[in-house]
C-alpha cells in the first residue's frame, strides 16, 4: 500500500497543478470536443459559393487549363476537390501568398469554376473561418496570442496536466476498490462531486494520458527536434529525413498529360482499395519536378492529418510512389507514430469514434470544472474547523468566480461566435477578426459578470446566459429558413449542429436549475451561499 504521507504529498501536488492548469484545460477540452465535427461545422457556417455548380470531374482538364491561362499563380500548384460541398465549394482551388511565400506568411485561397458557356469564374475563399477559430482556440488553450507564444504556454499547461494525472491516480489508488464504482448520490454533495470527479478521471484515464503526451509533443515539436538535431544527429536531421524520404516527384514529360481524376482514382482503387479520395494536390516545384499528393480517408485505420491520410502518386501513371502516410499501408514504426496522431484526433473508425471523443472531451472539461470546485469546498471545511463564524478567504472566492466565469464564458463565447457565422457575411467579407472579437468580448464579459455577482449568483446566471447563447445557433438556422434574405441553408448538412446545440442548451438549463436549488440550500460559509436566499441549513 502507498504510504499515507506520499498520498498526502501527491494530494497537495494534484491540487496545485490542477488549479494552475484546470481552466486552460477546460477551454482546450470544450473547444476540442467541438473540433470533432469541424468539417460539419464549417459546412454549416459557410455561405453558398458565389460560383457556378462545380464542373463534372471529366471536365477537370479544361477547368485547369483555363484557370492557369488567366491566373498563372495557379500554375505553381493547385488542388482538385473530388467531393465538393459548401465548405469545399469548387472543383479547383489554389493558394497565393500576397506578401511572398514563407512560413506563417498570410495566404489566400482561390476557387475556380466554369459557367454554362464554359467561361472561367474565380472567387476568393468565402468559406467560414469559425470552425478554424474554434480549432485554434483548442490548440492554444484559449489564449489570443501568436502561435509561437501560445504553444509553449500550452506545453507548460500540458506538463502540469501530466503531473495532475500521475498524482491523481496515486491519490485515488488507496481507495481504489472502495471508490471505483461508487457514485454516492445524496445529500452529501461534496462526496458526490468527488465521486463523479474520480469516476470520470479513472475511466477516461487512457484518453487523458494520450491527450497529455501528444499535446506535449504538439507544443514542443520543433524544440524537441531542434535539440535532438544538435545532440544526437550532429545537425544532420533534415539531411537524414530527405535521404529517407521515398522518391515521390516526377519530371514533366513533353506531350504527355496527367491522368484524369477518375482514372487516377481508379488506379488508386487497385493499389489501395478502401481509400476514399477527397482531394488531389498537384505541386510544381521550382526545379521543374511535379509532386502529386492525394488526400483521403479509410475509416478502418487511423490518419496522419486531422481528418485525412496522404498518398503520393505519379500524376502520369497513377502509380503509388510513397505510402508513408497512406492509412493501412504504412511501415510498422511510422504506423505507430500515425497512431499517436490518430489517437489525439479521434480520426479512426468513422463517426462513432468521433462521437465518443466528443463526449470524452466534454467529460474532460467537466473533470477540470469539478476539480476546481472540489478544492473550494475542501478549503471551506478547513475554515470551519478553525473559526466559529467563518468568512471565505479571498483566494477561494477568486478561484470560484474564475472557474464559473471562465468555463461558462468559454461555452457562451463559442456558441455566440458560431451563431454569428450566418449573420456576419451580410455585413463584411473580413469575418475572421470579428469571430475573434465576438468570442473574447463574450468570454471576458462572462468573467467580469462572475466577479460582479459572485460565484453562486454568477453560476446560475451565466448558465442561463450560456444556454441562451447556445440556443442562438438553432435560432439562426430557423431564421435562415423562414426569413427571406437572412442567412442561408446549406444543402445536405442535416441537423447535426442544430440538434447538438439544442441538447447542449437543454443541459445548461437543467444545470442552472440544479445550481439554483443548491444555492438556496447552501450554508452561510459555502461558496454557493448568497445571503438572504438560503432558507435552511443542510449539510452539503
Amino acid at each position: 500500500m502507498i504510504r499515507a504521507d506520499i498520498v498526502k504529498m501527491y494530494k497537495d501536488v494534484h491540487t496545485w497543478v490542477g488549479i494552475v492548469s484546470g481552466l486552460a484545460l477546460f477551454i482546450a477540452f470544450y473547444a476540442g470536443a467541438i473540433t470533432m465535427f469541424e468539417g460539419q461545422l464549417k459546412r454549416w457556417a459557410s455561405p453558398p459559393p458565389a460560383l457556378s455548380t462545380p464542373v463534372p470531374l471529366e471536365r477537370t482538364a479544361e477547368l485547369v487549363r483555363k484557370t492557369i491561362e488567366q491566373h498563372p499563380d495557379a500554375g505553381n500548384g493547385y488542388t482538385i476537390h473530388v467531393a465538393t460541398s459548401a465548405d469545399r465549394p469548387a472543383r479547383m482551388s489554389w493558394t497565393v501568398w500576397p506578401e511572398g511565400r514563407s512560413r506563417g506568411a498570410p495566404q489566400e485561397t482561390w476557387y475556380s469554376a466554369l459557367d454554362t458557356n464554359g467561361d472561367l469564374e474565380v472567387s476568393k475563399d468565402t468559406t467560414s473561418p469559425v470552425a478554424q477559430f474554434v480549432d485554434v482556440l483548442h490548440q492554444q488553450v484559449g489564449l489570443p496570442f501568436d502561435h509561437e507564444i501560445a504553444m509553449p504556454i500550452m506545453g507548460a499547461i500540458c506538463l502540469l496536466y501530466a503531473i495532475a494525472l500521475i498524482s491523481g491516480v496515486i491519490v485515488f489508488l488507496p481507495g481504489f476498490a472502495k471508490d471505483l464504482f461508487a457514485l454516492r448520490i445524496g445529500k452529501n454533495l461534496k462526496r458526490m462531486w468527488l465521486d463523479v470527479h474520480n469516476v470520470l478521471g479513472i475511466f477516461s484515464l487512457p484518453f487523458h494520458i494520450i491527450m497529455a503526451l501528444t499535446a506535449i509533443v504538439f507544443a514542443f515539436h520543433d524544440q524537441f527536434y531542434g535539440v535532438q538535431n544538435k545532440v544526437a544527429y550532429d545537425g544532420e536531421l533534415s539531411a537524414m529525413f530527405e535521404a529517407n524520404e521515398p522518391e515521390h516527384h516526377v519530371h514533366p514529360e513533353e506531350g504527355k498529360v496527367f491522368l484524369s481524376p477518375e482514372l487516377l482514382m481508379a488506379r488508386l482503387g487497385e493499389q489501395a482499395p478502401g481509400f476514399q479520395v477527397k482531394d488531389i494536390r498537384y505541386i510544381f516545384q521550382r526545379d521543374g519536378t511535379i509532386e502529386t499528393m492525394v488526400n483521403g480517408v479509410d475509416p478502418r485505420y487511423g490518419h496522419r492529418g486531422p481528418d485525412f491520410g496522404i498518398v503520393a502518386v505519379n500524376a502520369y501513371t497513377g502509380d503509388v510512389m510513397s505510402k508513408d502516410y497512406l492509412p493501412g499501408h504504412q511501415e510498422p514504426i511510422i504506423a505507430t507514430v500515425t497512431g499517436f496522431f490518430a489517437l489525439h484526433f479521434g480520426n479512426f473508425g468513422g463517426v462513432p469514434v468521433r462521437w465518443g471523443y466528443f463526449f470524452l472531451g466534454l467529460a474532460g472539461a467537466f473533470l477540470f470544472y469539478s476539480g476546481n470546485l472540489l478544492w473550494i469546498e475542501s478549503r471551506r471545511k478547513k475554515v470551519r474547523k478553525t473559526q466559529t463564524d467563518p468568512v471565505q478567504p479571498l483566494k477561494t472566492k477568486v478561484l470560484g468566480t474564475l472557474t464559473v466565469g471562465v468555463s461558462l464564458g468559454c461555452i457562451a463565447g463559442i456558441s455566440v461566435t458560431i451563431a454569428a457565422a450566418k449573420v456576419l457575411p451580410s455585413f463584411t467579407s473580413d469575418i475572421a477578426p470579428l469571430h475573434s472579437w465576438i468570442y473574447y468580448l463574450t468570454f471576458l464579459g462572462a468573467v467580469g459578470w462572475a466577479f460582479l455577482r459572485g460565484t453562486a449568483r454568477g453560476a446560475v446566471e451565466l448558465q442561463l446566459f450560456a444556454a441562451a447563447c447556445t440556443l442562438a445557433i438553432p435560432c439562426v438556422s430557423l431564421a435562415s429558413f423562414v426569413i427571406p434574405g437572412f442567412g442561408w441553408t446549406s444543402e445536405g448538412g442535416g441537423f447535426l449542429i442544430e440538434l447538438t446545440a439544442l441538447a447542449g442548451a437543454a443541459g445548461l438549463l437543467v444545470s442552472a436549475h440544479r445550481t439554483r436549488i443548491r444555492v438556496r440550500r447552501s450554508p452561510s460559509d459555502s461558496i454557493w451561499h448568497v445571503s438572504g436566499i438560503n432558507s435552511r441549513e443542510v449539510m452539503t
Binding site: M9, I216, Q228, A232, Y233, L237, M240, D324, I334
Partner: protein, 103 residues
Amino acid sequence: MSNDTFRYSSRSWFGKASAGLILGFALALSLTGLLAWLWPGGLMHSSGKTQLNMWLMSPIWALVLGFCFLFRTGLRAWLWLGGATLLSFAVLFAVKAFLGGAA
C-alpha cells in the same frame, strides 16, 4: 535511522519539481539520443524511427516530472537525476565516438 521517521511533504516541491523539469528534459534528450544510435539499423534506419524517437521525449519527460516528488529532498532529486543525466550523456558521447559520426 532517519529513514523511519522521514515523512514526505509537499513543502520541498520547488527543488524536486525544478529537477524534474530541467533534468527530466535532459534525461529524455540523452536517452532518446542513445536510442537513435543503438536502434537496430542505426541512425539512418528510417524517418519513422526518427519521428518515434522525437515522440519518446514526451513520456520520459512527463514520467520524470510526475515521479520526481518521490525524492526525499530537492537536493537528492538534483543529485540523483543529475547523476543519471551525466551518466547517460557520457554513454551517448562514448557510443557516438565508438560508432563514428552521424550518417
